[in-house]
Symmetry: C2
Amino acid sequence: MKVAILGTGAVGAALGARWAKAGHGVTFGSRQPQSEKVLQIVEKCGSAAKACSPAQAVANAEAILLAVPWSVARQTLSELGDLRGRPVIDCTNPLLPDLSGIELGHSTSAAEQIAAAAPSARVVKAFNTASVKVMNDPQFADHRAAMFYCGDDAAAKAVVQKLIVDIGFEPVDAGPLASARYLEPLAMLYIHLAFKQGWGSNCAFKVMKR
Amino acid sequence: MKVAILGTGAVGAALGARWAKAGHGVTFGSRQPQSEKVLQIVEKCGSAAKACSPAQAVANAEAILLAVPWSVARQTLSELGDLRGRPVIDCTNPLLPDLSGIELGHSTSAAEQIAAAAPSARVVKAFNTASVKVMNDPQFADHRAAMFYCGDDAAAKAVVQKLIVDIGFEPVDAGPLASARYLEPLAMLYIHLAFKQGWGSNCAFKVMKR
């Protein structure tokens, strides 16, 4: 699958490397595609990965990971023009600057705001409820970490489910995009457990069934 | 421990029976303590359990489970007068009548509203993120189901942690009472998974660590 990654922070770099290792074609979209930072990220993804402008990166992408900070997410997407119904994975969390909470919720969510800003995209919320450490290795002894995802377009969700499974997570379908109103507070619970309650970033959610 | 249970719905009945079996003294507070329904619930808790008025039930209680519907929770507590700093476990969820979402969130929570309505109580949010089936048996093969709890009073939280552990859950401290802003959406995620996404009510959350 051709995957475009917008954003060269820790999440974009980690997921890009994982997807490249799983055999997907990864292209980073960056305003500085030749910067040393971006070149180092691309190098870690192996010889098939590359970097170019955001517009070039998404041109032929079958899935687009939006891995920029929430504060610029809507602007980043809207500058790309018509996304022709392509899956956009929103992994942002609308964190307050001091991480004390989220900027919005309950009656809306970052995912829904992003979808409204880019109506030609098929937004799927995913990869917002686990740390980079867990993204790098979702296996916990005999259990896979859960990766919750939600969206309103079945085909886009199927693409994202495959990208979740391909890097070792257990996909958990949380329903329509409005369920991001639950998944974004869940990210806050994760952040709180990891950094305030002593769990550290090597922890993950799971849904058990019997 | 002397535990008062306000409410004789499925959650109150299940937790009462579990705590009674664990050796705690369980008293149900009800406006109809001699009704057939209440007598049947008491009988399932064994010979040490009893039922009386809400005011009598809480009189000597070391912990109070508030297991009435959210719509009457604040009224129920405020009618009890001075609760003298006793732990009140809030297991409500502020569900909309059609279960499509929660009535409030993000900048407040049911738990915080309840605490504001009963300033003499020490409110701890707990037992709102698992089904009655899971309360009856929190063991999933070699893993205990997680029970998240949060509150602003350390002594009250310690009491609730013991009540969580005593019936077989793994306690997960989610911090201050304001974390109910995360735990109540988590309950909605649980409800959505269980009843809309096919997981059923025999599923539970866990936080894995390595």
